[in-house]
Symmetry: C2
Subunit: 374 residues, 2 copies
């Protein structure tokens, strides 16, 4: 080894240009060390499993709060040259491999293989977890509840299309807990039958998707007619019927509807994301940077929601999201899904929840979980 570990930061002068074989020798030495460290890490992880019980399956010692802490530390001490995102991915995979030594985690998702949901499973649990493709989001809830799957990953909102109400509604009747969130970037493509931009005179898409690509459309298809339709799938179906039409949709639609990719990704902002929730049967301790999802039921009385929110507001607990849903219960008439900052086991959220007027409503904690690490 040419350098000491403690000198290994990008702040030291970069290695001088050497001949290729000398550089490769350096890299070989580094690889040997990395491999030895990964093996040692796996042995220690194995010890954690043994400490939890002789034949502990991964689900018994998987700790989302601990993984989030490890990844945040990776980001904190990163000073290049690799990006935070790349390093987080590498460490997710290393942790995933160490965890899967006995029985890997089984994670249910909305199949088939190849969906964004599967990508979310891999992003959050690494490729050593075993994904179980299921036919519906309901089935994901069922298989986790029955123990066939250790965890489930379900889509809950898209920065373009908003909240996926049907997923949220499953929490109304499910005892499962939210124990994580995953954010995944998604992309828009311009698709058409001919694949040639000069043929395009009309562009179909969901209104939100058209809005997401407005600048691109103005720049590249200023003369084309934009027509909002019910869904991106409907747009792709229409584009299939005419040579002068195009659809904005996910790349996947090109295959399903036999269209060609004209251009893409074409969304104006590259932060177009879908958010997934990780569901499981247990609650986990704080990670230091957590979010809590609450389901709040209230009577139809003036000021009920205000009374629920007041103890949160007074403590400056920030609220990321609030969605109202009909509750269909005898006592409570409205349900609200509310995401707030913090963990239920920690102040100030713990205090605020303890103070909520039980006559105003009923608060169920769906879960406290680490805020997604990029």
């Amino acid at each position: 080894m040419a350098t000491e570990p403690k000198k290994r930061t990008s702040k030291q002068p970069k290695p001088a240009v050497a001949d290729l074989s000398a550089v490769r020798e350096q890299i070989d030495g580094i690889d040997r060390e990395i491999q030895a460290l990964i093996a040692e890490r796996a042995l220690w992880a194995h010890q954690v499993g043994k400490a939890k019980g002789k034949l502990a399956a991964a689900v018994d010692y998987y700790r989302p709060e601990r993984e989030a802490q490890v990844l945040r530390r990776v980001v904190d001490r990163n000073d290049g040259p690799l990006s935070d995102e790349v390093l987080v991915r590498l460490f997710r995979e290393i942790m995933s491999a160490c965890l899967a030594q006995q029985e890997p985690l089984k994670v249910g998702y909305l199949g088939p293989e190849g969906t964004f949901s599967q990508q979310a499973v891999h992003k959050h649990f690494g490729h050593s977890a075993r994904g179980l493709p299921l036919a519906s989001v309901e089935e994901v809830f069922d298989e986790v509840a029955s123990g066939t799957a250790d965890f489930g990953v379900v889509p809950v909102e898209n920065s373009g299309q908003g909240t996926i109400q049907s997923t949220l509604d499953l929490f109304l009747t499910s005892p499962l807990k939210i124990c994580g969130e995953v954010e995944l970037r998604v992309h828009q493509y311009l698709l058409s039958r001919t694949g040639r931009i000069e043929d395009v005179e009309r562009v179909y898409s969901h209104g939100l998707s058209l809005a997401q690509c407005r600048s691109w459309l103005r720049q590249h298809l200023p003369g084309a007619e934009k027509q909002a339709v019910a869904s991106n799938a409907e747009a792709a179906r229409r584009a299939r019927n005419a040579d002068d039409a195009a659809a904005i949709a996910g790349e996947n639609a090109a295959h399903v509807y036999g269209l060609k990719v004209v251009a893409g990704p074409i969304e104006d902002r590259d932060d177009n994301t879908t958010r997934f929730l990780v569901i499981g049967r247990a609650s986990f301790p704080p990670s230091g940077h957590d979010r809590t999802s609450l389901m709040v039921f209230i009577r139809d009385q003036p000021g009920a929601l205000y009374k629920i929110l007041e103890p949160l507001a007074r403590r400056d607990i920030s609220m990321n999201r609030i969605e109202s849903r009909p509750a269909h219960g005898a006592l409570w008439q409205y349900a609200f899904f509310i995401d707030v900052a913090g963990h239920v086991d920690e102040s100030p959220l713990k205090d605020a929840l303890g103070e909520i007027d039980e006559f105003a409503g009923d608060v169920r904690v769906l879960g406290s979980y680490p805020v997604a690490v990029p």
Copy 2:
């Protein structure tokens, strides 16, 4: 750090069971070291790029033979606890991240996202390469030839269904070189409308898929009628029409045809694989364990093939595969695709090829490339 790097092998006594926080501290220390080493590795890789030219894109310094050597070394020195396959995957990702620091590799494949081809791209090039989903295998060839993609990944044979002739035929007219191979395990599932094994009285599938699952069928469905059909997709289509029918097909077919997974994976041998070729514009030096794909054109004359093969056979050069195709040329009437052990730049293959009788036929080297690392 509790231990010295040189002691880090699984041959030393495993760390004793300690309390959880002490183990986590150990792991945190290891992670810090791994991260520093990965950063240093990335800096050295950056130097390789610079040595090749000031603004070298990844394609300019990507060396498949070097990657294969690194991965073989990883396998050679692995003595647990993680499997070779897991370690190879981790090191692929580390190399991929180091390579993608400037401009990542662009790799074309048969889209859409989510296909086995995309999995093959990720397996071979890691997740830091940029995959380009394309509409056809022809388009993959075109985009690599034009330079839009740096490399392409195309399916060439399945251990169940045999060679994909249409892919091989593209080499008849393409100047592209084979510079790698990827092997991907694929799985078979039993699918039906009800999802209940007790309902199944008939099983449809392609004959080869039925054969692949023979033991499983004998054990679990001894009384069911087995019926071979043209394809697994056709089998799924038939299974959709009756409650007492099932299909053996890929898991993906469950979603496409609205079927439920009864059981799977159910193939008798877990080595059911699809083989992909990596195509590019350049040839690469030997990696030490290589394979060479040849396209041999011969006249329709007795003994022509024998004359071509003799110099190979005399040198004990093993042949993995031979496929004949009509050549449609004026001079040569038959084409054979032949895979042999070794690299064209090394003896004995180099000598054998130099000796082949030019009157017997014409030999084109499609490429010499590292044998796939698991």
